[in-house]
Symmetry: C2
Subunit: 425 residues, 2 copies
């Protein structure tokens, strides 16, 4: 069987399994999640052994340290997988609920029912725990899933897959509801993203390059998350202590996350008083500042001149550093801040610090990003912090799902009409 035929076969099986999954009971889906957790628990040593084999190959291939770390399956990470399964089992079932039912003049009742999307294709790199995480969200939302992990994690993913299969079989749900692609051939991805007859949506999780390539070549819809160039705007009516606290938290609480602030905008009228204090705070965190002309002048003339400070270039306003670096710009006020953000941001998450109600309202209305915030750190832009219970990714698209994507993002709504014999006249 060549790659195309192999992927078609996976696709056909997934489509068929998705029919059964769409009407699987909440009890069966939860039982399967817990059974998978039991099988993972019972297979700890097999999982760690398979993972050790992946790690050895990866090391021999010279994989860099950060990727090796992400690839590693420790006991703590397996614990995390088990907890995740229990959490997803505890979430409310999104499927089948009827909403917005209302009576129409014709006598029919019209509303919506939440239903699974069908078959989800997930393409990811390194971290083998994504295999369990993604599978659990797809199962709970009544979908079938085809998982294509990185070639460096193939042994680990197959060991995990065996546990998932065993869990599904135990409950009597189709094992083909979760299929891990067993070839490392790159053509498999090309085929997976161009089978609209078998796959309803693709969720790529990985670097910007991967996501851009998949979005370009896909023939099915893609729920994609590109970069997170997030902004903090400090208005001239901001509470000073709050402004410093939010700016520092948004930048420094974690550097490598997509909801970390990368640019700080400060209103002109408070720049002279606020920038030196901000510079001092960032200095204590070892954050390098890339400053516009105005902020460069203010900061370099201030006491905290030990901060790492260089002049920003046009490129800095676009940059997602994912590092202890922050771009700083003085803006005239709200209008310029909104204009700057709508021009340079990646439409991920932005926050305003202000005590001024109308400006706060304008900010959340006019800033065109997936999360807009008032007086809160951008670091809150996250499925768990938002109460979604789980997160398959953060969408920077506007179509279908925007912002953190939970179980609902893996579902659709169909119209339901309840009649008692009505015909159209």
């Amino acid at each position: 069987m060549n790659i195309d035929q192999y992927m078609q076969t996976l696709g056909e099986r997934a489509r068929s399994a998705s029919r059964a999954m769409s009407s699987a009971s909440t009890g069966d889906k939860n039982a399967a999640l817990l059974a998978i957790a039991r099988h993972l628990e019972a297979s700890r040593s097999a999982l760690i052994k398979a993972n050790a084999s992946d790690l050895a190959t990866a090391q021999a291939n010279g994989l860099e340290a950060a990727l090796l770390d992400r690839l590693e399956l420790t006991d703590a990470r397996i614990d995390g997988m088990l907890e995740g399964l229990e959490q997803v089992a505890a979430l409310a079932d999104p499927i089948g609920g009827l909403t917005d039912m209302c009576s129409r003049p014709s006598g029919i009742q019209v509303g919506k029912m939440r239903v699974p999307l069908g078959v989800i294709g997930i393409i990811y790199e390194s971290r083998p725990n994504v295999t369990v995480e993604a599978a659990s969200l797809c199962l709970k939302s009544g979908n079938a899933v085809i998982l294509r992990g990185g070639s460096e994690a193939i042994q680990s993913n197959q060991a995990i897959s065996a546990c998932i299969q065993a869990g599904l079989a135990e409950v009597g749900l189709p094992q083909t509801a979760v299929q891990v692609v067993e070839t490392t051939d790159r053509e498999a991805v090309g085929q997976l993203i161009t089978m609209p007859e078998f796959v309803d949506v693709i969720v790529p999780r990985g670097g910007k390059g991967l996501i851009e390539r998949i979005s370009r070549d896909a023939r099915v819809p893609v729920i994609k998350h590109l970069d997170g160039n997030c902004h903090v705007y400090i208005d001239d009516s901001a509470d000073e202590a709050m402004a410093i606290s939010i700016a520092v938290n948004a930048k420094t609480q974690r550097y490598g996350t997509c909801n970390t602030a990368e640019s700080l905008l400060v209103a002109k009228d408070v720049a002279e008083s606020l920038l030196p204090k901000l510079a001092q705070a960032f200095e204590s965190h070892g954050v390098e500042l890339r400053a516009c002309e105005e902020s460069l002048r203010i900061i370099s003339g201030s006491a905290s001149s030990n901060v790492k400070l260089i002049a920003a270039t046009e490129d800095d306003w676009y940059e997602e550093y994912l590092a202890p670096i922050l771009a700083i710009k003085v803006v005239a006020g709200l209008d310029e801040a909104i204009e700057h953000i709508n021009h340079y941001s990646s439409q991920h998450s932005e926050t305003i610090v202000t005590e001024h109600h109308p400006r706060a309202m304008r900010f959340i209305r006019e800033v065109d990003s997936s999360s807009v915030m008032i007086n809160a750190s951008t670091r809150f832009a996250d499925g768990f912090e938002y109460g979604l219970g789980a997160e398959i990714g953060i969408s920077t698209d506007k179509i279908h799902a925007r912002g953190p994507v939970g179980l609902d993002g893996l579902t659709s709504q169909k119209y339901v009409v309840l009649g008692s014999g009505q015909i159209r006249s």
Copy 2:
């Protein structure tokens, strides 16, 4: 300027206008809709003159009668356009509303705000009234729109466009919020559907060929409506009179619409008694029946043997006739009906006629179509009948919008976080 540059210019202008439109007040948007109506009213003779020129060209080019009819702009059709504008002005503004706000343990409040998609590209054929209809829905939902009508309607569309421009200008909204493509070059479409930087979603309205071509080539999301192969399933517990009434209405109330039934499934246990009566009813409407072996036997052995009756082929189960033709199949019961529909239907609209509650519930849960109905004619699958107030199309996709698409389908939701200084710990 070549076509690519021309379309890029339209795109840039639309993107810029979309910013202003997204924060336009409800009052301004409604005032613009009513101003457009006044300008159309004042330009009746100019519209009819421009349309006459299109009609003359179309006749000279040998356009078929049905298309000529759709192209024609009569006084009654202009009245319809004015009414449509007033109706859209009367609809609630979908934009800006905050929903689902809830408090999180961190102290932040999280919810969603409905926002425009940005720039919509609409590609359509013949009917010039679509120009006004589509523009009005895009305006009301705070979007900018680029309209690409058929080349046969170019004069009419430009005359309508002039009225729209005048209406927008009168209210002070950007005239570039609605742009009609002024070239009939086919390359313009190719460019329109491949500018993700300027266009957020494409809505093609027209024949299946047009929609398939656009879906295949587009580099932006497409809200598409392919065909409507709708089913009526008569369960063995159906009320006989209701079953006949719904089957006849679903097939015969209008033949050319996408929510017209094309296939009738009848449960085996009631086929002997019901099919002869159904055949009689369809005979009186001059409907040709394409029958499976079993139904062929029953109907041809019955009294109403004057009905046009031929044996169905496999192709008939897939067919959208848009004509007085109906495929009929006897099925064992609910399971086979659901299986048949999920295999052959175009996932548009399907109805079950039954008095049996659990089967009705299974039908709406397990049938994977955009509208699923109990004891009602498929002809109800329509934005106006569902109470959406307007309809930009009917989506047979699952992503973003499914079923009749009203104003909400031209919007997205962003997350809003209201804090009072919260930071992430």
